[in-house]
């Protein structure tokens, strides 16, 4: 329920058309909503407005007033406008009743041309080797609003190039247009006021103090919001032209926040991950630790081949042997360790496997606890603990049963263990313990201490190689999408689990991941009425935020 008081609506004329916007709207936002885009560099909706780039100058008018301060109404019944001869910045301008804006008049176009020329005279124009090329606002606005030729005949100002502002961010000060977005981001959002400007006038240069470099875990957001090629990601620098990147909308899986991201990949290789706007989750930011944690996906040690007792086998053989081994065990001798990094669909099929094998309370997930940073990194470093709990894979306290499972293995009470995407040695078991097991069915993507002892090894897919859904710590259901293909013979996790459930129970009927979701939605009320496609790019709140905690 909204308890906000009603915000009054104001009448604003934009390029001749009267529209209504809530009080407090900035002119630049009102124009954007009216589909009149105003070019800008320094303005960022999530940061304060310094008004320094002067690109968003517009022509502004106010209603003509009679001497007794009443608006003069024209023949069309609308107020007559008295235009201010001086251009105004629209980024810091709050609308007022009767305000009129011209977003493209000769004066406005003249202003933009002038600003573009000023910005480019000292710019190196090294677009062919600039990483920003293709997503550079200087390039874009040059085409839209700039001049075809430069009138500048003199020496350009020289500034530092290839400066390591921090471990992950490289600065080319000559490309910088001094919009101060990076400074404001670090000060206002990341709360680590480490970037400033040194020198003066045309020599102004972005800098950090040598003792206090840009080390923040949010440093790469400055690269995202840098409208030009001044700040570049040291990791991504010179790796790939951005226009070759295939972009996939998905979510981050490094913690329970589930930040919305875009994966940039080319020919099955991921090159970078950038944040995707979602005000309900991460705004437009993303921690560095999360966005750079994708290299393991391309690791050459990836598991690519189903194995039984160390011997390569075909998939159907591996599944059949796994099912036989599990069916051969009494349910109280089987335990299952699942992962809170799995999707809801995978966890739903895991749930079904648990039910078919009648495993009772000998199943859990491995918790990953860290410290919340107060911004986007959640204390829960598993992305789908909420889903794991909702689907009864674990109790409200994830990992609570792990000790009992470990003790069971150690005492010989548990003879078969299923590990789905987790290393059992992280759950209190030793490799000696694992050696005692009759059956160890392991599904994973990279070799670890558990896979080394697997009786049946099932190579699966990484988070960016599959589809599915997860629920973040705040109860928001969001969607994973596939950016690249899994290597070798490895398969999508849900398919492996589906086959395993079928092999154990003999049931049938799931052909597509949509079917899994549908089946799940029929049984779990929180998913009721939803489908993978209905989740949309921005997700759906399915559990109230307080309850999710």
């Amino acid at each position: 329920m909204s308890t906000a008081t009603e915000v009054p609506m104001l009448n604003v004329q934009i390029d001749g058309a009267w529209m209504q916007f809530p009080k407090g709207t900035r002119a630049i936002e009102a124009c954007r909503q009216a589909t009149k885009f105003i070019p800008h560099y320094c303005y960022h909706p999530k940061l304060s407005s310094p008004g320094n780039c002067r690109m968003c100058l517009i022509e502004m008018g106010l209603p003509k007033m009679t001497p007794d301060r009443k608006p003069v109404v024209g023949t069309d019944g609308k107020p007559e406008i008295s235009w201010i001869p001086r251009p105004q910045i629209s980024c810091a301008l709050e609308i007022t009743e009767g305000m009129a804006i011209r977003t493209s008049s000769p004066m406005v176009e003249e202003c933009r041309k002038g600003v573009m020329e000023f910005l480019l005279i000292n710019h190196p124009l090294d677009c062919p080797i600039c990483d920003q090329a293709g997503e550079c606002k200087l390039q874009e606005f040059s085409v839209e609003y700039g001049n075809a030729q430069s009138a500048f005949l003199d020496q350009k100002v020289k500034k530092p190039k290839n400066v390591e502002l921090g471990p992950r961010v490289t600065l080319d000060a000559e490309r910088c247009i001094l919009c101060t977005r990076c400074i404001r981001f670090m000060s206002e959002v990341a709360k680590d006021d480490c970037i400033g400007i040194v020198d003066r006038g045309s020599y102004n240069t972005i800098a950090c103090h040598p003792d206090k470099p840009l080390v923040s875990n949010y440093s790469l957001n400055t690269v995202d919001i840098c409208p030009v090629g001044a700040l570049t990601s040291t990791d991504f620098r010179f790796k790939m032209r951005v226009w070759f990147l295939k972009e996939t909308k998905t979510i981050d899986v490094n913690c329970g926040t589930g930040s919305n991201i875009i994966i940039g990949a080319r020919e099955n290789v991921i090159y970078r991950i950038t944040p995707r706007d979602n005000d309900a989750v991460n705004g437009c930011w993303l921690p560095d630790s999360h966005r750079l944690n994708f290299k393991y996906v391309n690791d050459e040690r990836r598991l690519k081949q189903p194995m039984v007792k160390g011997e390569p086998v075909e998939w159907r053989t591996a599944i059949a042997i796994a099912a036989e081994m599990l069916k051969a065990h009494a349910s109280d001798t089987i335990a299952l360790i699942a992962s809170a990094r799995s999707t809801n669909e995978e966890l739903w099929l895991t749930r079904r496997l648990i039910e078919e094998l009648e495993i009772d309370k000998q199943h859990d997930v491995i918790p990953r606890a860290g410290e919340a940073d107060g911004l986007l990194v959640a204390a829960d470093r598993n992305p789908n603990t909420t889903g794991a709990h909702l689907l009864n894979i674990c109790t409200t306290r994830s990992g609570a049963r792990l000790k009992k499972i470990a003790d069971g293995v150690r005492s010989g009470q548990i003879k078969a263990l299923v590990c789905l995407g987790e290393d059992a040695t992280k759950a209190g078991l030793t490799e000696d313990d694992l050696r005692k097991l009759d059956a160890l069915v392991v599904m994973d993507i990279l070799p670890n201490k558990t896979t080394a002892h697997a009786t049946v090894l099932l190579p699966a897919s990484a988070w960016c190689e599959k589809r599915g859904s997860m629920i973040n710590v705040k109860g928001r259901l969001q969607r994973l999408n596939k950016a690249v293909n899994a290597p070798g013979q490895s398969r999508d996790d849900w398919e492996i689990l589906r086959d395993l459930v079928q092999a154990v129970s003999g049931s049938n009927g799931l052909h597509m991941i949509e079917d899994v979701f549908k089946q799940m939605a029929g049984k779990v009320k929180e998913f009721d009425g939803l489908s993978l496609s209905k989740i949309g790019d921005l997700g759906v709140q399915i559990i109230e935020e307080e309850a999710a905690k």
Binding site: G114, C194, V198
Partner: protein, 658 residues
């Protein structure tokens, strides 16, 4: 830390800190000054020490050290000489003076420049050339605000006026007693001394006894018995307009303050006198500080400000000391501090020193500087000082002369003050005349009582022997130049340059501005390209660099006039200069945009022949014309998406039905 911070410096630092009860960061500039006075320069360690002391990020101190040119990151000579480079001093020979000083000090400037030493630390910074033995150093600085006695130099903290190149060697061993301000002639009959009554007055001293003997602080007593509203009313009735440059009505500005709000109100005296051609505040600060303090206290009472600062430009170290002494005297006498004269009104005033940045004269830039930041002017709206000023509280910023006028308005009453001068141009103005006149200096006259011709030929003794008037800059170097022989149409009457009355409105009607009252006169021996180049260099150096047009355009204009003077002027350059000016004026955050472009716009428009004469090179051929962007687009034919390709049967089925 490898160094010991001596106890007396620590004590001074603690004292400075106590002047900023609201924000520690505000003490950044004072601490840097104290440090540099003690150690001679700001080392990297100093930046870290000060940052730690003030609980600031080290980058924030580094930002200041590189922004304010008075701070240096390497030692200067034991005796440091700053020679003023700006227009009035250049006209009087400051370039020759600088070279002569360097020669006398044994510094090879040509070699030093060749070695690029001046780019060692900062891009913009004032390069400091130090003699090999470390005894002397020379720095070319922007306006020292003593244009009437040009050329001038500062030797350590001492100002030496009217110093010719042949006296350069004397500067190296200047003593305090040699550096006193010279006395000027008694007031000209056309003057009316109100604010400058005591300046260079016989027997006058700047201590409080002398001031009180002369009836000082009587107006403060009077004002404290009035209601604040009544004081604001008198100031409104007086028609007083701000003397800093913009000429905004003072009473109206005060009227924006809503007394009794939840936030405190601050008052700031803008003593960052730095518009080239202007040098009036210097005299008030040096010779009559109590007049200013009294005016400020009355103003504080009127707007309910309990804390006020006097922002004195860094190049006035002596003035800062004098005003601090005067404040201590006033405090001792009960005029300042708690319960002033038993009225129950508390008010504290502190001196805050700038450090060589012209932009601090812009009131919101000044506020940022006082907050311990780079002096980046704020956008207005929303940051009108009367609403969101110092520490985001209501703040009044007034010029030194304006605040002094307040005292006299209380003395004579607003209505009486309004009778001085002309309607809407009331009171007196201190005109600062420099350049090519026989008697440059300050002259306080009733606003508009005098024409430009009378000022130049009568009051200032005319031009030098055998010279004719060529141009006048009427209100500080940012004002548009007026050309001899021009006529102006003012209220239906055609008047010549000499007939312009020196008031706000007429000078504005003639296409320029009365500005800060700095009148720079140039005779027919002067080249206008050279003059504009000097002004361009000033503004390129002083642009804070915050917003695009001014940051890029000011330096661009300077580069073009540099090139024209070097013989590389192209046919397009005069037009280009105007175009750049047009691209800046009216499009920037603060009025610096106008300040830096008006000279270019007016010089080129009015002295086009001179610019064209020096700009005759062919424009370098443009890149060979291949296609215009329009042609490129026209040549590009893109098949519409819905058009069938080949025969219809080849159209692929939509993916969903495949």
């Amino acid at each position: 830390m490898f160094f010991q911070v001596p106890a007396e410096l620590l004590a001074a630092i603690d004292e400075a800190n106590s002047h900023y009860p609201v924000s520690k960061r505000s003490a950044s500039l004072p601490l840097l000054h104290l440090w540099q006075e003690h150690f001679g320069f700001i080392s990297d360690e100093a930046i870290k020490w000060i940052a730690a002391k003030l609980e600031q990020e080290p980058i924030h101190i580094l930002e200041l050290v590189t922004f304010y040119p008075m701070f240096r990151r390497a030692p200067a000579g034991k005796r440091h000489i700053r020679v003023c480079r700006t227009l009035s001093c250049q006209l009087a020979g400051s370039y020759e003076l600088r070279d002569a000083v360097a020669k006398a000090a044994g510094i090879d400037l040509a070699k030093w420049e060749e070695e690029g030493a001046h780019h060692a630390n900062a891009g913009h910074g004032n390069p400091i050339a130090v003699s090999a033995d470390g005894e002397y150093s020379v720095e070319f600085v922007e306006c020292l605000a003593s244009c009437g006695s040009a050329p001038v130099a500062m030797v350590d903290d001492m100002l030496k006026e009217n110093v010719c190149a042949d006296q350069a060697a004397d500067l190296l061993k200047l003593r305090k007693s040699d550096a006193t301000l010279p006395k000027v002639l008694p007031p000209h009959p056309k003057e009316r001394r109100i604010v400058f009554k005591n300046i260079d007055r016989k027997g006058w001293t700047n201590d409080i006894e002398c001031y009180v003997r002369d009836g000082g602080y009587a107006e403060l007593k009077k004002a404290l018995k009035m209601t604040p509203d009544a004081i604001v009313g008198e100031v409104k009735a007086s028609g007083l307009r701000g003397r800093g440059g913009a000429g905004f009505p003072c009473g109206t500005k005060w009227g924006f303050i809503k007394r009794g709000g939840p936030k405190p109100t601050y008052l700031i005296c803008n003593a960052d006198e730095s518009e080239p051609g202007t040098f009036k505040d210097r005299y008030i600060l040096h010779q009559d500080p109590h007049q200013l303090i009294e005016g400020m206290l009355i103003s504080c009472f009127a707007v309910d400000a309990r804390l006020a600062y006097i922002y004195i430009r860094g190049e006035f170290p002596e003035a800062a000391q004098i005003v601090e002494k005067a404040l201590a005297e006033a405090r001792a006498k009960g005029f300042l501090g708690k319960d002033i004269l038993g009225s129950g009104f508390d008010c504290e005033i502190y001196v805050h020193r700038g450090a060589g940045a012209y932009i601090c004269g812009e009131e919101t830039g000044l506020i940022e500087s006082l907050e311990g930041k780079r002096a980046y002017p704020r956008i207005k709206p929303p940051y009108f000082p009367a609403v969101l000023g110092l520490y985001m509280c209501p703040t009044i910023v007034n010029n030194v002369e304006t605040l002094c006028d307040v005292k006299h308005i209380i003395a004579m009453g607003g209505a009486e003050f309004a009778k001085i001068g002309k309607p809407n141009n009331t009171g007196t103005r201190i005109l600062c005349v420099s350049g090519d006149v026989v008697k440059p200096g300050y002259y306080e006259v009733e606003v508009g009582s005098l024409t430009m011709g009378e000022l130049i030929y009568d009051v200032c003794g005319g031009l030098k022997e055998g010279r004719k008037l060529k141009a006048v800059i009427p209100g500080g170097s940012s004002a548009k130049v007026l050309k001899a022989g021009e006529t102006y149409n003012v209220k239906g009457k055609t008047i010549t340059l000499e007939e312009i009355p020196m008031d706000f409105d007429t000078i504005a009607a003639c296409g320029s501005m009365a500005g800060s009252g700095g009148v720079i006169v140039m005779d027919d021996s002067r080249g206008m390209v050279e003059a504009l180049n000097n002004i361009n260099e000033f503004y390129a150096h002083e642009s804070c660099g915050q917003c695009t047009p001014c940051r890029e355009g000011a330096l661009w204009m300077k580069k073009i006039t540099d090139r024209i003077l070097d013989g590389g002027g192209t046919e397009r350059d005069p037009d280009m200069l105007v175009k750049i000016g047009d691209g800046i004026a009216g499009k920037t955050i603060c009025a610096f945009g106008e300040a830096c472009s008006w000279p270019t716009q007016s010089f080129v428009a009015k002295f086009r022949d001179e610019f064209a004469g020096k700009s005759q090179k062919q424009i370098p051929p443009p890149m060979p014309p291949e296609y215009s962007p329009g042609e490129l687009i026209a040549n590009e034919t893109i098949e519409p998406v819905d058009a069938p390709r080949g025969n219809g049967s080849e159209i692929m089925a939509p993916a969903a039905t495949r």
